[in-house]
Symmetry: C2
Subunit: 121 residues, 2 copies
C-alpha cells in the first residue's frame, strides 16, 4: 500500500468505528498529537486519551483534500461525531508519517480547541 492508501484505510477504520483495526495500523510507539491538547505517546496513552472522549454513536471523517509526499500524507477534513443524538463537527488538518513497516508513526491533527469545546457542548 502507498502512504496515501494507508491513510485512506486508517480513516476508513475510524468511519466504521473499528478502533482495534485503527490501532493495528499504528506503530507501538506512535505519537498522536492533537496539537492544541498535546501529544499521546504509545498505544496505552492513545487508548487512555480515547477513553476520555465522550462516547460516540457514529464517526464520519470527511476528507476534502489529501496529498502525499514520500512517506508523509497531509489531509484536510471535517471530522463528525454522533454524540448524544447530535452530529458534532470539527474542521481539521492532519499530518501522517508512515514508517518503514507501513505503520503510522506520527499523527498530528491541527484544529481549534475552542471550536471543539463548542461542538461538544
Amino acid at each position: 500500500m502507498t502512504a496515501s492508501e494507508i491513510v485512506d484505510e486508517f480513516i476508513a477504520c475510524w468511519n466504521r468505528m473499528d478502533v482495534p483495526a485503527a490501532m493495528d495500523m499504528m506503530a507501538e510507539d506512535a505519537v498522536w498529537d492533537n496539537v492544541p491538547l498535546g501529544p499521546a505517546e504509545g498505544k496505552a496513552a492513545m487508548m487512555a486519551l480515547m477513553a476520555n472522549f465522550p462516547p460516540s454513536q457514529g464517526t464520519e471523517f470527511i476528507v476534502h483534500h489529501s496529498a502525499a509526499n514520500g512517506n508523509v500524507v497531509l489531509n484536510e477534513r471535517t471530522d463528525r461525531f454522533l454524540v448524544g443524538g447530535r452530529w458534532r463537527e470539527i474542521r481539521v488538518m492532519g499530518t501522517f508519517e508512515i514508517n518503514a513497516e507501513g505503520k503510522i508513526q506520527h499523527w498530528r491533527d491541527y484544529f481549534d480547541a475552542a471550536q471543539m469545546t463548542a461542538a461538544f457542548a
Copy 2:
C-alpha cells in the same frame, strides 16, 4: 510554475515581508480563511485583516512538510512573527487552491486560536 512552486514562492514573499508581492499571487476574489477566526473574502478584506494584526518586524514561515495533489497544496508549518522584540510561534497547517490563472484562490489555515492569543500576549 507547479502548484507547489507557487505556494513555495508565496511563502517566500511572506518571509521577506513583501506583502504587495504576496497579494499579487492571490486572485482578486481570493478567500483567506483563518479557520478559527473566519474568512476574509477579496483583497480589500484581506488587507483590512492584516492591518488588524500586531505590527511584525520579522516573519518566518517554516514549512515542515508540503504535498500537492493537482492544483491543491497542503503544508504543515511553524509561523514565526517578531513582535515587540520577541519571536512568537504558531503551529499551523494550511491548504492552498491554485486557480487556472496560477493565482491562489483559496488559502485556509488551521491553528488553535488560544495558542495564537497566548503567543502574542
